[in-house]
Symmetry: C2
Subunit: 719 residues, 2 copies
Amino acid sequence: MADKELQKRHKPAAPLSEPMRGIPGFFYDLKPAEPQGANSLQVERAKATFDSSKMTRFLFTNYLGGIVNEVQDVLENDETFSKENRYYMGRSERFLDRLKMDSKFAQLARELKWDDARRTMGSLLIDEPGTFSLHTGMFMPCLNSQGTDEQRKYWLGLAHNYRIIGCYAQTELGHGSNVQGLETTATYIPETEQFEIHSPSLTASKWWVGGLGKTATHAIVMARLITKGKDFGPHAFIVPIRSLENHKPFAGIMVGDVGPKMGFNCVDNGFILFNKYRIPRDHMLMRYSKVDKEGNYSAPPVQKISYGTMIFVRAYLVASSALALARGATVAIRYSAIRRQFTDPEASKNDEVFQQYVPQNPKLKCETAVIDYSLQQYRLFPIIAQSYALHFSGFWMLRIYMKMMKNMNDGNMDLLPEVHAASSGLKSLTTTIAAAGIEECRRSCGGHGYSLFSGLPDFLNTFLPLVTLEGDNHLLTQQTSRYLLKQLRKYKQDPSSIPKSDGSTTKYLGAMPTKSWTAAKTEADLQNPLILLEAFAHRSQRLVIELATKMAKGQVWNDSLIEMYAISKAHCQYILLKNFVHAAYHDKRAAANEVAPVLVTLCVLFGLSTMESELSEFVEDGFVSQKQTVWLRAQIKKSLAAVRPNAVALVDSWGIPDYVLNSALGRYDGKVYESMFEMALKEPLNVNARAHGDVVEGYEEFLKPLIQRGLSSDDKAKL
Amino acid sequence: MADKELQKRHKPAAPLSEPMRGIPGFFYDLKPAEPQGANSLQVERAKATFDSSKMTRFLFTNYLGGIVNEVQDVLENDETFSKENRYYMGRSERFLDRLKMDSKFAQLARELKWDDARRTMGSLLIDEPGTFSLHTGMFMPCLNSQGTDEQRKYWLGLAHNYRIIGCYAQTELGHGSNVQGLETTATYIPETEQFEIHSPSLTASKWWVGGLGKTATHAIVMARLITKGKDFGPHAFIVPIRSLENHKPFAGIMVGDVGPKMGFNCVDNGFILFNKYRIPRDHMLMRYSKVDKEGNYSAPPVQKISYGTMIFVRAYLVASSALALARGATVAIRYSAIRRQFTDPEASKNDEVFQQYVPQNPKLKCETAVIDYSLQQYRLFPIIAQSYALHFSGFWMLRIYMKMMKNMNDGNMDLLPEVHAASSGLKSLTTTIAAAGIEECRRSCGGHGYSLFSGLPDFLNTFLPLVTLEGDNHLLTQQTSRYLLKQLRKYKQDPSSIPKSDGSTTKYLGAMPTKSWTAAKTEADLQNPLILLEAFAHRSQRLVIELATKMAKGQVWNDSLIEMYAISKAHCQYILLKNFVHAAYHDKRAAANEVAPVLVTLCVLFGLSTMESELSEFVEDGFVSQKQTVWLRAQIKKSLAAVRPNAVALVDSWGIPDYVLNSALGRYDGKVYESMFEMALKEPLNVNARAHGDVVEGYEEFLKPLIQRGLSSDDKAKL
Ligand SMILES: Cc1cc2nc3c(=O)[nH]c(=O)nc-3n(C[C@H](O)[C@H](O)[C@H](O)COP(=O)(O)OP(=O)(O)OC[C@H]3O[C@@H](n4cnc5c(N)ncnc54)[C@H](O)[C@@H]3O)c2cc1C
Ligand SMILES: Cc1cc2nc3c(=O)[nH]c(=O)nc-3n(C[C@H](O)[C@H](O)[C@H](O)COP(=O)(O)OP(=O)(O)OC[C@H]3O[C@@H](n4cnc5c(N)ncnc54)[C@H](O)[C@@H]3O)c2cc1C
């Protein structure tokens, strides 16, 4: 059960409590048919075998919990940040609304002296990409890491106070993944000590740049540095875009918004073309590469520090994927516990609400909660397990990132290749899992999942670009595989290089290959996550060895991409399970908070269901036997049953505030149907019609002529 | 190459040919970097091994082709049906725009005396659900099948001329799938010979009803018939909703729109609540069930005719899923042939465009078309194969439906259970495949797939409800499985009942179970679709037998839903492959049009890739051996290579007009980048800004105060 501190996060007004204009009186007497959603959720919460507020504390920390409430209080009490109209707005309105929020947020953050943690929490709670997202998320970090001390002092000072608003312009209409193929040039003109930024073609136009379309005053532009006739490839330049006095774009550039998107419509992703546009020499970011006054280029010292940022961003994306799944699951699980459809007494035998009705008084109708249908559990409970799995690996990545950075500061780069490989594959795998999971959650809500009021469509559409951004999910797997192939070779050539530590993600590659899953001797062994982990290690090792063999026999790179995708996935599923095992068994805080048992249950479900979804790769070489697959499918059912009593508490544990969910189906209080109705009544088509005798705009022009064509007024009266 | 008749379907104006206000002159001198998209597509089309216009004729018929062009001509020449602004409109605008189109379309159809085929083609070309969709799609058919002759005459006459506009109100806020659980009542009042329609609770509100929100004048309402104190369950009633004189809703009802959705925003899906609302007795549809003046109820004679409509609708959905996939593939394949990213000479070795550049003149850059990366092929080519597979099964369903209806008219119901089972499972499987495939196509376009201009997001969002509508895809599989389990029992008890005809979809259930895939003796055997089909039959049979055994041992229904889902899928994948084999080998028109060889290639790819995606079910019982799985993966690569030269021609063959694609990436002429730019320039945020010195609305209010806070005008000038 959640404690008071957590309950505070869920405080939306009871729906339909205020009368609205133009609604007939009889409406206000209506209640949803029995049983009420609140009742169902209450019963669910009461039967949990662990304390969800302790789980919340285990997942995050007390510190974070405090910040949520603090920042949420500020935002919820300011009209500017109201989400009431979000689902009704078209593109232009939504952009403007967001601009207003960003402006107000900047002001608030300054006044309340919010630190970075609070600012980040603010964005998480506002829960929408913003027009300034790239300003804080890319422009400033890039200045920070690539600017000279002088540049940092000057530009970061301006940026921090929103004197200038920046964006990051790398992608072009013709090039995204292949950064080396960018066309925009920056040619050094020694005579004037300037760079001339130029777009030689239509496809050279920068494209997709967040905040550039309408907002930014400055862009960091990646352009091919050309000096003394030589092309040194893409480098970063600070380019002024719009006048600070009147916000007009400068002559010599053409800038605008790239148009409507699947989501992200509150952001002005933009394009920009340069026509021999000049900037001073000191606008090139010169911490590493430099061009002197004469135009002599000096290359950067070999530096891998910039990988750090990339790995940090990916750790963040893995953790975000966890929260995204958790959010999808929160809506789908709560709604599934409330939604009742058909009556199956066998399915409802453990449902107290059902038992209060049907058996005691067969005249009282009560249907089966859809959460009690085994197929619904099979679709949704693995998603709960995945959300926890992703969370533990996200935090693992953050920990290992910090360790790595510490090492690197001491000149030790050892961890980098391993962490880079894991981060590429994990970013790819976890964002793919989350995107699929959110959509499955949405579908599991039936028709109402298609309504924006469910909170899932808009959220999914905002999440979706993550499968493409920060490295396309298919491309990324080549990085991971390249590393694994290399390690395999190394371990073979020099067995002493095989890692000894269990902390290593690739130790398994050096192990003696096994032929069959001998550790799983009885069906009950499949409830042991360590035995499952062994199977994952075997599968990944086998796939890597097989590809290495093929390539040794001459299979070229391009013919190996399919296998590389599989290998990266296998390796990262192994990591996910490994980190989950660690959290459930070895994290002392889990034991202290009495959540270890439920985590073990969940960890097993994660292992089993992941194994089932990739079963052919475990079976095809004879590793997992026919008998073991039968056990597997049976044990999945057992795990689903074990998770069942804790399903609602497990999603409650994430503590995602109603303010974030913005969902009629996922509300903490279970008032699903009242909330759907209230939101529908506020639909502008309804509000406008109610203001005009409940007749729709367009009637006179488009419907009346059709309906009344050629009728006399006499006829009309008759109809 | 496509012939002239087909080329006519692709005639959008060249993009960027007309200057726009506020665009600097240098813009018009820019071209996309070489090579041009048109060039790439031309080379692709030239290397096809078959004639795509013949394939078009094979897939459809000459007759249909003629209608496309005829109707498209009318629509493309009428401003009302322009799609130019579709992607920029918000909800209310889009609804109004659609209402305008519907009104005009009704008028045109009347004037031009369009038959049903032309009207249907019109909706397909307009390519958007409409406010009148349910009027023609459900209201009229329902009147037709359930109304008495008198009712039909009266109401259909009005409906046909749009004197009234109808909708179909079954689903309620609380009940969708379980129709028997509907709450709305229709209580007969003998004194006044009326029914009193009433909503006893909030959840009794009708919900989701297309066209009800703002447009319809009448609804067919499904309500529980109560007469003489007895509840006879849901029956259909014609209920007047809005005045024909002024379109105001009548007193005693509360009606409105259910609010914004993931898609379908041009439709006014609506809710309605009834407060003891009276209608005359003769408004009950009384073809089968009747209530006389005194309130005596007479039940319908047992009649299975209504299954006919359902099966027809599902056949239509299977065929629509084919077209939907084809459309996704058209965009993704054309764009992949144009999009170039990174250089891999090995991958581009068969690319003539690449060869013209790099090897001959290494200074000319040319990157690898992404269609030449094996992973991209692995993602996309199976989708092409699926689109053909679904098409053949959709047409098979239509044929068998017609045969069944003919039989039924002769009193022979034999086909019904088999066709009903197949139609349930196929609707579920094919809409699921199509939804996944469209999204995969979208992602395979990288960042640009996220732009509405790609044509895919909007289209996907419109397609998505089909996984929930007309039977939720998960629920439906229970119908198919129930039938298969029953047949298995029957065949066991009475072997003489095992079908003899190869036309039967369940003959395999009665075959002697086999232990291993002996037919696949060599790797080359996997290129034989008949041998593949055998494996699909085995797998489905095994799964059905295993579930039957479990249930015989006492496994209850609810514990069997997971297996039922698997069985239904296995059975329907078998049907899809079976029908594909038929089309490629036995359809004389395929041979006559010289498309049989390419169809065989595609059929093999469909079989192999489907087998791979479900591999564990083929392998886990030892049927497919370890060696055979190795062959399988190798043969998939071979099939991908075999499809490669025909990829563009295979999507061209569907003949989907540019007017429908509405896609910058999928245009027939390959002018991808020009088109992206033109569409971006028309984005309202840009148009509005250009009208105001290129400064965004909201600048003065939200940006200026932030940027210029506390600055003197002196400072500003300096910045
Ligand atoms: C919402 C959104 C916001 C964005 N914000 C910004 C921003 O602020 N600043 C910025 O600079 N950019 C931004 N981008 C651009 C983004 O970084 C790119 O879209 C992304 O990197 C993908 O590149 P691409 O579009 O060129 O994909 P492509 O590389 O063209 O990919 C197309 C297809 O080809 C495949 N492919 C490509 N190369 C290979 C290969 N070698 N092997 C196998 N397959 C291959 C891919 O897997 C994919 O399926 C944004 C994009 C979006 C959608
Ligand atoms: C765009 C759109 C247009 C529509 N138009 C119309 C219209 O014009 N007229 C109209 O009357 N209706 C319309 N509908 C409603 C539509 O028919 C229903 O939404 C649909 O039938 C699904 O029912 P539901 O929403 O009650 O889903 P539910 O039955 O509530 O499904 C919720 C979840 O429970 C699961 N579930 C339910 N029962 C079982 C079971 N026995 N075993 C296992 N799992 C189960 C489902 O699989 C699903 O995952 C429309 C809906 C949409 C989205």
